[in-house]
Amino acid sequence: MNAGWAAARLGARRGWIELKHSFTNVNDLVTLAIFTGILLAVMLWTRTTTVPGTHFSLGATMMASMIGMNVGFNGLATLGGLLAVEREDGTLLRAKAIPHGMTGYLAGKVVTVSGMILISVATTLAGAFLFSGLSVGRVSTWLTLIPVLLLGLVATLPIGAVLGSLIPNARSAGLLTLASGGLIAISGIFYPITHLPHWLQWVGQVFPFYWLGLGMRSALLPAHLASVEIGHSWRHLATFGVLGAWAVIGLVLAPVVLRRMARREAGSSVAARREKAMLRVG
């Protein structure tokens, strides 16, 4: 177990190094800037629009929801996609060839993606001054935001790892992004969920995106905005219940699925995937 812990610590180092790589890399920074820019533009554009039934800015609401969305999207799609891509390119096999390398690799990925999430939360919050009505300075804001954030990480990262292990190749990683996008659309991130058909509301409430958005809105928005939510309440108990359930499912499934995936990695499977990918490119 000693060497295992040592490897987890090395993994944390690995995560930190890779986080630095992605923030000292022009490609990654441009992608991030474009993504953030588009979202910011949408929010600013809707700044003067009000949430139906209130006098509150829709853009400000969206900003709070977006923090939750970022947690969910990175935890599920980014981590899952990275796992699929790095399985294909042989990074995982390298980890497997090293003592406790898989432990280190996974710890590293969790740290990298958590770091990305924290940075995205911080940059979004830094933009909060552009909108009136968001209470960033309140203690109660942070007492809600931090637990929702942490629970959100535990609820999404293991599931992301499971999804990344199950999808067949890097190309299907796009499907993960697409599916997440679809779920985000019905999770009340961009517009109150209560305006969706009833059955879609139920679908949305199964997945973490809705609850992450709700949790972040409850942290950052004035109390009276709860009136536009389902049940006219922030439903903190349900939020922790559903996110907690996803966390349990993920933590139970992840070790089994990851171990199965790791067991099947060998040089020839990487070579076969490389050949296939080359055929697609060529």
Binding site: R13, R94, A97, H100, G104, E265, S268, A271
Partner: protein
């Protein structure tokens, strides 16, 4: 007889292990290894062993099961049947401490593209630190390792900016960063230019000599096998059909040698069972008029081709599906 296996009558290799060492320590011991995918037998009773410090080359036609064999020994693939011992442990149940004693050189593609060479080697090496053993400090000092594989000029370069040859050197460096007692190399020099190949050969010799590492490599380059390996194994039709030094293999296949000479501007070729005696007679008869004398034993390539062909015919005779089976299986 379908298997020409005379490993039992081999004397110790010429150079390694040095006399006085516990030479009989078996690092690899494979007995009757079988691998079956669906209805195809890829490995059909593979048996061989390797002592400490030996360099083994595994040759064989495509689809003969070289990669499968190596992956089973690396613990990356489960076997169907047979006994396998790698450093005294069954690779199917090898733990992390076992893993730390083994080096695997993988063919990289585009992994770790953003990492710098030194940064990556230092990181991957650090996993081996808890496994330092007496006389074998782990990991390898990173700067020394970088110099050893000839990447000193690229230490700060990002992996994606390396040339193909440099990437392969990095692959080798990653494979040996934990100072392995046993190193697996699957087609290590594919895509190397002659100079890089020569440097790589020097490196393999140094690993075997100085680090006392046992090395198992697969290759399609018979010349390389002859230069590097103490022992050559030929895998065909899912079995080891030959096991011995290049010299022993060629003697086994043919006792004849080709003698070429010229006399009075005319060239002669003669196949002789006893070339030494033949040449002695030649000189006795013609004396100083004999010129351009060459004596050639069958090359490893000739031997290899003959053995593989023979094995294929025999397994084809043994069961009618033999040839089809050989060509149907890939990997």
């Amino acid at each position: 007889m379908s298997v020409l296996n005379w490993s039992g009558i081999l004397s110790a290799p010429l150079t390694r292990p040095a006399p006085g060492e516990p030479a009989e320590e078996l690092v690899l011991d494979v007995r009757d290894l079988r691998m079956r995918y669906g209805r195809a037998d890829v490995l059909d009773g593979v048996t061989f062993s390797a002592r400490r410090g030996e360099v083994l080359a595994l040759l064989g036609p495509n689809g003969a099961g070289k990669t499968t064999t190596i992956e089973i020994l690396e613990g990356f693939r489960m076997r169907s049947a047979g006994q396998v011992s790698v450093l005294g442990t069954d690779p199917a149940h090898g733990g992390e401490a076992w893993r730390a004693r083994i080096g695997v050189v993988l063919q990289s593609w585009r992994d770790h593209a953003k990492w710098q060479v030194r940064e990556l080697l230092a990181h991957l090496g650090s996993y081996y630190a808890p496994y330092t053993a007496p006389g074998r400090p782990r990991p390898w000092d990173v700067d020394e390792l970088i110099a050893t594989v000839g990447l000193a000029g690229q230490a700060r370069q990002r992996v994606r900016r390396l040339s193909g040859g440099q990437r392969r050197r990095l692959d080798v460096a990653i494979g040996i960063v934990g100072r392995p007692e046993l190193l697996f190399l699957d087609e290590p020099t594919a895509g190397f230019d002659p100079e890089a190949r020569r440097e790589f050969h020097d490196l393999v010799h140094r690993l075997a000599d100085r680090e006392d590492a046992t090395i198992l490599l697969t290759t399609h380059d018979l010349d390389e096998a002859e230069k590097l390996a103490d022992r050559i194994l030929i895998l065909a039709g899912g079995r080891i059909i030959a096991d011995g030094s290049a010299d022993e293999l060629s003697r086994r296949m043919s006792t004849q040698a080709e003698v070429r000479w010229s006399r009075d501007g005319q060239r002669f070729v003669h196949s002789a069972d006893e070339p030494t005696k033949f040449v002695r007679d030649l000189f006795r008869q013609y004396g100083e008029s004999v010129e351009d004398l060459e004596i050639r034993r069958a090359s490893l390539e000739d031997t290899y081709m003959a053995m593989v062909r023979q094995a294929e015919t025999e397994s084809g005779r043994a069961d009618g599906t033999g040839r089809r089976r050989l060509s149907a299986v890939s990997g």
